[in-house]
Amino acid sequence: MRTISKKLNNEEIEAFGKEVDSLREEVMSKVGKEDADHIRFIYKAYRYTEVLGRGLIHFSFEPISFVAGTLLLATSKIINNMELGHNVLHGQYDWMNDPRFNSRTFEWDIVCDAHQWKFYHNYMHHTFTNVLNKDHDYGYNFTRLTEGQKWKPVHLTQPFTNLFLAMNFQWGIGAHGFRVEHLEIPKKQRNKRSLKDFKKVFFKKIELQVVKDYLLFPVLAGLNFPKIILGNMIANLIRNLWTYAVIFCGHFTENAESFTTDEIVGETKAQWYLRQLKGSSNLEGSKLFYTMTGHLSHQIEHHMFPGMPAIRYREVAPRLKEICEKYGQHYNTGSFLKQFASVWKRIIAYSFPDSIAGKLMGNRKVYLEPKGMISQPSFQISLPAKEKSVTLT
């Protein structure tokens, strides 16, 4: 993968990291009532859209109120997943000490179990962002997005499998969760039993979701039940398409880089920041758009500061961009359409072998960061938890 950022020497990288750190500290010191009010407003919006949406679907007699109800329910599910769920599960609001917004107790309106998601997303994906074979979100194991992944004929189908994934995205991320947990167990301990246990967590959550959307609410409507099932299906479909689109724009746009496990050995905090920057891409739009993406429109900021209340990314972004310009680092941003188009360009290009993919992508060269730059790292990527044991003194 080619980089379009300036290559920095060690001192420059550390200075960059320092500036990013001080920006983070400054903004975090302001976190308080405003952020609490924001998440409570979001919670309200989520509750109201759900009541109104389900109510309209239930009591609609003509298509207009049915469509309005379905759209409201889809909105509710999007808010629940993105601005509320995603951010709460990152622990952004743990400081409020409010059980409704605590990452330990929150469960969301999606078939993916929150606890499994926190493992593969908060830990694996956010620590090893875009590191092949370590970040299991990179292509979700079936989409080839870089020369670093070996081409197989099956990849020719990836434009179609991705369309299928987009429509069933919640099932995709749900199934991803238990598989990643299984893969991250040391090989010797992996067995059918452990896979079954992880699967059961997923199935438990599926059952809750399916019963709620496709049994409980339809039953409440009596003979009108097909309408409720249809409304819930469409709402889930809209939410799936939207979250797929937003999430794929986060790391799979044209200029988002990928890394190898060798590159992150002994990585310092500053180098980690740089990797987050190079591996992520932003979307531009209105404040409503930002909220509906759960501020994943600010993927770069989110990846540098995953624990910061998301609404703060709006004020962080222009300042971070300035720092990036100062250090000659590419700040990957663009409109939703432009970024989403470039994601699909990449999905289609890399479905072909490297010779064709290279041509389609503009003959990019593989660029590797020099290794072992800092002899004494002040911050180290830790090993996966399950391989680590606590030593007692």
Binding site: K33, Y43, N97, P99, R104, K118, K200, A385, V390, L392
Partner: protein, 361 residues
Amino acid sequence: MKTFPFIYNQPKEFLKFLQPGDWADFLLGEINPRFSVTTVKAKVIAVREETADAKTLVLKPNWLWKGFVSGQHVPVTIEIAGRRVTRFYSLSSFPGEKYLSITVKRQAGGLVSNFINQNIKKGDLLELGEPSGEFVLPKVLPSKILFLAGGSGITPIHSILKQLQANQFKGKVTLLYFVRSYEDIILHSSLEEIVKATGFLEIRYIFSDVPREGFDSGFLTKEILQKYTDDIKSYSVYVCGPGPMQTKALSLLEGNEVKSELFLLPGQSQLKVKKTGTVDVFLSLSHKTIQVKGERSLLEELEDQGIYPPSGCRMGICHTCVCKKSAGSVTDLSKGEVSELGEENIQICISRAESNLELEL
């Protein structure tokens, strides 16, 4: 027995998943913020200034409030800069009154007590927990009671006195109230009213900082006790006040039946230590390893690093912060005991790291 469609989940789990409590609270809260089906929410209907640094909040709780016994305390949760914080306060009203009240004196450096004194106004909302505490009257009332109050320690005693007044107590009550100066007497007018309205109460104010003519000054001593009691052994004694006063009282009153109540302010435990070096705390649910010094409670040290586990009273009463320790050893600050190395549940607000730890957080 699980029946279709309950293959993986029990019906109870389904019910929990549908969040009936959260839904009800949300909808009721939209009608009136005081309404709830899960939490006692109370509206401040009056704020009374007691002294320059103490205020009484008169509270109107919702229907979930089940009442209390005079002398008990209650966890009070308020929001400060978006963050919910909990502290325990004694109820200063007595159960027969229409509304509840708590009386809060500012503590030097106290987050909540200062916030209540500065910012809480009529119309604000706060959350109450379940009242608890053994600092209450026995079923069979003794004939002679001695109350020893220090500073804001008067609040539960005030509640008990009001209760005795309501019961038309026939015995004899002596209250020795140790306070910095005449102006610092909390609930002064109400105490005087009880004296006037009843015949059983005798109050002696004793000033520790600013002497006043006609009053005693100083701290609790044997002489003062003897001066105001005839036969000390015949009294039931209630002590509520700062730590040194309680220690003194307990040593002077050996052999008596003494009930005492002492609130340790957060972070006030005597077991603070200085250590060299750090220990590693591995948080197994968030896959983070952080270094702590092991000088203060785990909760405080985690919060310093931007990790906010759920917490409540911060003094080991409410058990909000309980979490599983899978490995390592901690010191229980309330007992001063060092724990085993193995798996157990600990309250992180009163536990200090002794060795490398693994916590389920």
